[in-house]
């Protein structure tokens, strides 16, 4: 029984590899940011920082219940409202009801992957509410009808010509491919939206339990706009995105901005703790914090995967991963792409459904090297593969390919018996002859075995095994030289 295929991993990956513009952008992104983050970690004045922060992250997760309650207490004390949403549906339902109750016609969004995870845009749009992304990259993919392909650089798959044409069509400006001109056009169009919206909807990079704040980082200023100008601010927060103390917050903030964009700090870091206070001249009249579980407590309960909740979503692993670097973000079919996406997406939305993601990664370990909180993503990718191979009742995983499992069991028998192994090799050498191409490699295999050769060539079984080669060449010489040495020794004696 084969598991239900994820939505077009192979096809989208191939499209990504054929997209010259994406390939160029990915190469320069990885050359600069992936390597840059590694350099920063290697030259940290405090080399133990990442390990220490990681162990604090794990302690924080161990106390998540109490810390979330403390955060809620702080926000509520300032007149903010906190809603705990167990599922995506509860979160979107709360926001939809709130928007309806306040007569919201227009929502401006700050970049939030959680908002994409829970699918809030479609829910609001179904009520006739206009939803506008305000991060420039997110705005571009929104009006292009596309989706983000990088956690930090959402429109990395588009070049200035495509964006120029898009703006000419959608914003009615003369065609230009000059980034400053295009940015000014978006600045003008989005300012109007930001200043007239009824609701600002943002994510939360990192809350602080000790002080009862959420904090948001941005370079563009759109998030400060969306949290300051509309009368209503709703922040969506994944329940694990919390620091216990201000000290923890400081360490994580610095790892976040350095891992994401090699910045000491992003241009703006805002702490929001509630609605405007008496006497405050601006800021939202209402502040709602929606804390979302949506599968996270299941991950938290499993010591094998709990570590992934330490992630601060800096995107550094995307900037170094050789697989992401070739296929781009769309193949992951999730707001979370790259190595972190290959672990978190199956855990949140089904291991069988997203089986290709963990199988597609190489386990090379680069993502762990660059991770600011030292998350062992390769270990978790391998654990997911294990579940796919053998099934797992707790995670409701079906073995994804019984035929393949049978094949490997057979192989195990064969390599355990040298006579059988050599016989099989001889047979395969004969059988493979018709398939060997002009380069001496096998370019395609028939039937079910075709999957092996679909995206790569298979080297043929060599004419001789290593042992046979050894015996016929080096082994012979060795025997000869040993004999000579023996003769010499006898002679000396």
């Amino acid at each position: 029984m084969k598991s239900s295929p994820p939505p077009g991993y192979l096809e989208t990956a191939r499209e990504g590899m054929d997209n010259a513009c994406l390939q160029k952008s990915l190469r320069s992104l990885q050359a600069r940011y992936g390597k840059g983050a590694l350099d920063i970690w290697h030259n940290l004045p405090d080399p133990g920082l990442r390990q220490r922060v990681k162990s604090r992250r794990m302690q924080t997760l161990a106390h998540l219940d109490g810390l979330l309650a403390l955060l809620a207490e702080g926000v509520e004390a300032r007149g903010g409202q906190v809603f705990f949403a167990a599922t995506a549906g509860e979160a979107t339902g709360y926001i939809r009801d709130l928007a309806q109750a306040r007569g919201v016609r227009r929502v401006v969004k700050g970049k939030s992957m959680l908002s994409a995870e829970i699918g809030i845009d479609a829910v609001l749009e179904a009520e006739g509410i206009e939803v506008v992304e305000t991060d420039l990259g997110e705005f571009i993919v929104q009006i292009a009808g596309s989706s983000a392909s990088h956690i930090i650089a959402p429109c990395i798959h588009m070049d200035r010509q495509q964006i120029g044409q898009l703006f000419a069509d959608r914003l009615g400006i003369p065609y230009s491919e000059d980034p400053p001109t295009l940015t000014r056009a978006a600045r003008k169009a989005l300012r109007e939206k930001l200043l007239t919206a009824d609701m600002g909807l943002t994510g939360c990079n990192l809350a602080c339990a000790e002080t009862g704040h959420i904090s948001l980082v941005s370079n563009e200023g759109n998030i400060r706009m969306a949290t300051t100008m509309p009368p209503l601010h709703v922040a969506l927060m994944g329940m694990e995105r919390i620091a216990a103390t201000l000290d923890d917050h400081r360490d994580l903030l610095q790892l976040l901005t350095q891992g994401a964009a090699l910045q000491k700090l992003s241009t703006y870091v805002s702490f929001v703790g509630g609605p405007r206070r008496e006497g405050d001249p601006d800021g939202p009249e209402e502040f709602h914090l929606v804390i979302v579980d949506n599968g996270r407590s299941r991950i938290l309960a499993d010591p094998e995967f709990r570590e992934v909740l330490a992630c601060i979503r800096c995107g550094a692993c995307l900037n170094i991963c050789p697989v992401y670097g070739r296929i781009g973000g769309h193949a992951y079919h999730s707001p979370y792409s790259g190595p972190i996406g290959a672990v978190i997406t199956p855990l949140l939305h089904g291991i069988n459904r997203h089986a290709d993601l963990c199988k597609g990664e190489t386990l090379c370990g680069a993502c762990r090297d660059v991770c600011p909180v030292d998350n062992n993503l390769p270990r978790m990718l391998a654990a997911l593969r294990h579940k796919l191979a053998y099934g797992d009742p707790v995670w409701q995983v079906r073995p994804h390919n019984r035929l393949e499992a049978l094949g490997f069991r057979l192989w195990q028998r064969i390599i355990g018996n040298s006579r059988l192994y050599e016989t099989v090799l001889r047979v395969v050498r004969t059988l493979q002859r018709p398939f060997a191409g002009s380069q001496g490699v096998i370019g395609s295999l028939p039937g079910l075995k075709g999957g092996w050769t679909e995206g790569r060539d298979l080297p043929p079984v060599a004419p001789q095994t290593f042992r046979e080669q050894w015996l016929s060449t080096i082994g012979k010489k060795r025997t000869h030289s040993e004999k000579t040495r023996k003769d010499d020794q006898e002679h000396d004696a």
Binding site: Q59, L64, F84, Y268, D282, A301
Partner: protein, 254 residues
């Protein structure tokens, strides 16, 4: 723990607790988890920094500001700072509104500058974010320049810290095309650790913003453009001589 916890909150937190309590060996006593940091030693390092040390921090700030396109102006006296701001206003070009105008945080330090008197003959209006001014929002939307006070500056990252206070809206540093912040040198600290220690001292901490330069984006082909949704230019006027409104000994929020 929370007094008015919504019913869904209780069930939610119970589920979270169930997820960790049997499988987690890292649960610490609550007090230990939230043990306060050793702010006292950090704060002690801040008191009585001499002129030489402050000047060294200023040099570091200027160095770190350059790559962020944050322009630092060093002014010894209030009249010098006022001239600096007036010159920036005269040289600026309006962006969203045909006429130039300025909006000032309603703060004694900025009132003491009297930039409005300097700009009167240029017919450039100056507005204040006073609590009784019902036009604050409109003036902010049409202003070409917002002038604010910075509670602290951070040399290491060329950052200013602004606490939201009555009469000091968040939008003044955000909505106008140009942001000018005024910082007394005595309130310049070395790094984020010092700034966080000062933030923690604040009672009834509300919202706050850390700002490091003008707004920017690199979303189109990784090409850096200044002026995304916030100001396209930012200036930091550092007052090297302590003005009367500021306590010279310790960098308290101003």
């Amino acid at each position: 723990m929370t007094k008015n916890m919504m019913p869904n909150g209780t069930a939610f937190l119970d589920r979270v607790r169930a997820a960790v309590q049997d499988t987690c060996d890292q649960r610490l006593p609550w007090k230990e988890l939230l043990a306060p940091a050793d702010d006292q030693s950090i704060l002690a390092g801040l008191t009585g920094r001499d002129r030489k040390q402050q000047t060294a921090l200023l040099r570091q700030l200027i160095e770190n500001a350059a790559p962020l396109n944050l322009q630092v102006h060093t002014c010894a006296t209030l009249p010098e700072a006022a001239d600096c701001i007036a010159a920036l206003a005269r040289a600026s070009k309006p962006e969203f509104h045909p006429e130039k105008s300025l909006i000032f945080h309603d703060h004694p330090l900025l009132r003491a500058l009297s930039v409005d008197a300097l700009l009167a003959k240029d017919h450039i209006p100056c507005h204040w974010t006073s609590r009784n001014n019902s036009e604050v929002r409109n003036h902010t939307l049409t202003a070409s320049i917002g002038v604010t006070v910075a509670d602290w500056g951070i040399a290491e990252s060329a950052t200013i810290v602004q606490l939201t206070r009555p009469g000091r809206p968040r939008s003044t540093s955000l909505v106008p095309s140009i942001h000018i912040a005024v910082l007394p040198l005595s309130n310049l600290v070395a790094d984020l650790a010092e700034a966080y220690a000062l933030i923690r001292r604040e009672q009834a901490l509300d919202s706050l913003a850390l700002i490091s330069g003008p707004s920017k984006t690199a979303d189109i082909e990784a090409c850096m453009v200044f002026g995304a949704h916030g100001p396209r230019a930012m200036h930091l006027v550092v007052l090297t001589e302590s003005p009367p409104a500021v306590n010279p000994g310790f960098p308290v929020a101003i």
